[in-house]
């Protein structure tokens, strides 16, 4: 029923911020396959926050309670090693991190720190759970996309383990 945006004669009533957020989430691989109606519903649950260079989003060992999506800027994912912080990945616009918080409440396995002035969209687990209760399709699509990401991480880790020559750690879900 509401697959399409508002009709042209109602354009004056459109909230550009909400429309922009829905369109942005549509391009994120984590939400690929969700119809616009459900994407719009998901978009209402996100919060937006501006981070400054050097700000920590979360630390290794913190309880995971939210998923983050980079709208603008750059986020570094690092893990503490005896030699100092090791950069696992650098994320840019459209990338999501902290996704395991949507599945369980295990502590964060890495640290996320902002490298440049950054806008993040934040989805809290309680909001995601509430949304899933009434929308089984959101649960199925997001969990399928999450499983794909986990499978990619698992294969990459297996390959690295068999090579064992580089001695570096693999980037994985947080």
């Amino acid at each position: 029923m509401f697959e399409q945006p508002l009709p042209r004669w109602l354009a004056w009533a459109e909230d550009p911020e909400q429309a922009r957020r829905t369109s942005f989430l549509a391009r994120s691989p984590l939400f690929a396959g969700l119809p616009r109606r459900l994407l719009a519903r998901l978009a209402t649950r996100f919060f937006e926050k501006v981070y400054h260079p050097g700000d920590g989003v979360f630390e290794e060992g913190d309880p995971g309670r939210a998923l983050f999506v980079v709208v603008e800027g750059e986020v570094e994912i690092t893990r503490a090693t005896p030699q100092g912080p090791y950069v696992l990945n650098t994320l840019g616009p459209g990338d999501a991190f902290g996704e395991l918080a949507l599945i369980d409440d295990f502590p964060r396995s890495a640290t996320a720190r902002v490298a440049a002035s950054t806008h993040l969209l934040i989805l809290y687990k309680s909001d995601f759970d509430a949304l899933m209760e009434g929308n089984a399709r959101i649960a199925v699509v997001v969990m399928r996309n999450l499983s794909r990401r986990l499978a990619i991480y698992a294969r990459r880790n297996t390959m690295l383990a068999t090579e064992q020559s580089r001695g570096s750690e693999a980037a994985g879900p947080l």
Binding site: A43, E48, K49, V57, D62, A66, S126
Partner: protein
């Protein structure tokens, strides 16, 4: 603590004291905003501006209230007027019954005679005091009521329209390392409060409708008034349902031709409604949003009543639930941190 911080807290406390009269309107406006927020969130999914959504929502509510006023208003007003006319006579009848009971008790147990109250006409005295309230007091009360009816929708309108902007502003000022945990706690509590308020209102409406229908079917006078009272009183756990049963029972006792059978019918009706409420209506409306132990539930109502009277009894359950949820989330936070320490060690 630094002097600047002490001064800031003192200023905040002084400000709160100065605006204490606004606590009730703001509380009611927040409750109204929680009640209407699902409709606003639904409109957000269509990317409609909040001002348009909230304006349209209030227009619909006003239209519904006008229609409901036309449909139910005349009946409730005539019931109210009839009750007011009969009130002095009813008070006299209740006093006669009470006097007889006290006399009987004094004769059968002379030892407790000194403990029993002297005189009589308590209810008549209360009714005449109430009726003889000074016009200035009456004017003040009516003024407060009208102020509430204007302020509550006014505040609710702006809460619904601008809350997301306020939240964004607060989040951008929070220390980044605390945003995830602190806002997560608030989101959980917000969900619990929202579900509770919407559930309680829906529950009250269903109970009011059932009570009004049942009383009308049983031939009890003033079914609309008594039903509305049952719905409102239902907000207060334990005491509310009891009060509405007593009120309906008193009306039956003082209605010629109803007799003891009428009282039993009313008691049975309210018992059935209470059982239905506990087993079917509340699980469907309030659901799992409140998990208070019955002892904690009763204790919170008693403490709320002592602290803030009727308002305290109404807000006791959500406040106790919020406290319980906060403790649970803090304990969970500690458990997760302990799990990390074990993994690291």
């Amino acid at each position: 603590m630094k002097p600047a911080r002490i001064l800031t807290w003192a200023a905040v406390a002084a400000l709160l004291w100065l605006v204490r009269g606004m606590v009730l309107p703001v509380f009611l406006a927040a409750a109204l905003a929680y009640l209407l927020s699902p409709a606003v969130v639904w409109a957000d999914t269509l990317a409609i501006r909040r001002t348009v959504t909230v304006g349209a929502l209030f227009a619909v509510i006003i239209a519904v209230m006008v229609v409901a006023g036309f449909l139910l208003g005349p009946g409730m007003l005539s019931e109210g007027a009839a009750l007011m006319d009969r009130l002095p006579g009813l008070a006299r009848q209740i006093d006669l019954g009470l006097d007889a009971a006290v006399r009987e008790l004094a004769e059968s147990a002379p030892a407790v005679r000194s403990l029993l109250p002297e005189g009589g006409g308590w209810v008549q005295g209360f009714v005449s005091d109430w009726g003889a309230a000074k016009p200035a007091d009456l004017f003040e009360q009516v003024g407060h009521f009208f102020l509430l009816t204007i302020l509550v929708p006014f505040f609710a309108f702006f809460l619904l329209r601008d809350m997301h902007r306020l939240i964004a502003a607060v989040m951008n000022r929070l220390p980044p390392q605390h945003v995830e945990t602190s806002v997560a706690v608030w989101r959980e509590l917000n969900g619990v409060i929202g579900r509770y308020i919407r559930g309680v209102v829906l529950d009250g409406l269903v109970v009011a409708a059932l009570a009004a229908l049942g009383l009308w079917a049983a031939g009890v006078p003033y079914p609309l008034l008594l039903g509305a009272f049952a719905g409102l009183a239902n907000v207060v756990p334990f005491v509310g349902p009891l009060l509405s049963t007593v009120a309906a029972g008193l009306v039956v006792v003082l209605t010629p031709g109803q007799g003891l059978a009428g009282v039993l019918r009313v008691a049975l009706l309210f018992l059935v409604i209470k059982v239905l409420d506990d087993t079917v209506i509340q699980p469907l409306t309030i659901g799992r949003s409140v998990h208070l132990h019955p002892a904690l539930l009763l204790g919170s109502v008693v403490v709320g009543s002592h602290a803030l009277g009727v308002l305290g009894m109404i807000i006791a359950v959500p406040v106790a639930t919020v406290l319980q949820e906060t403790v649970r989330l803090l304990l969970e936070h500690r458990r997760v941190l302990a799990r990390h320490d074990r993994l690291v060690v």
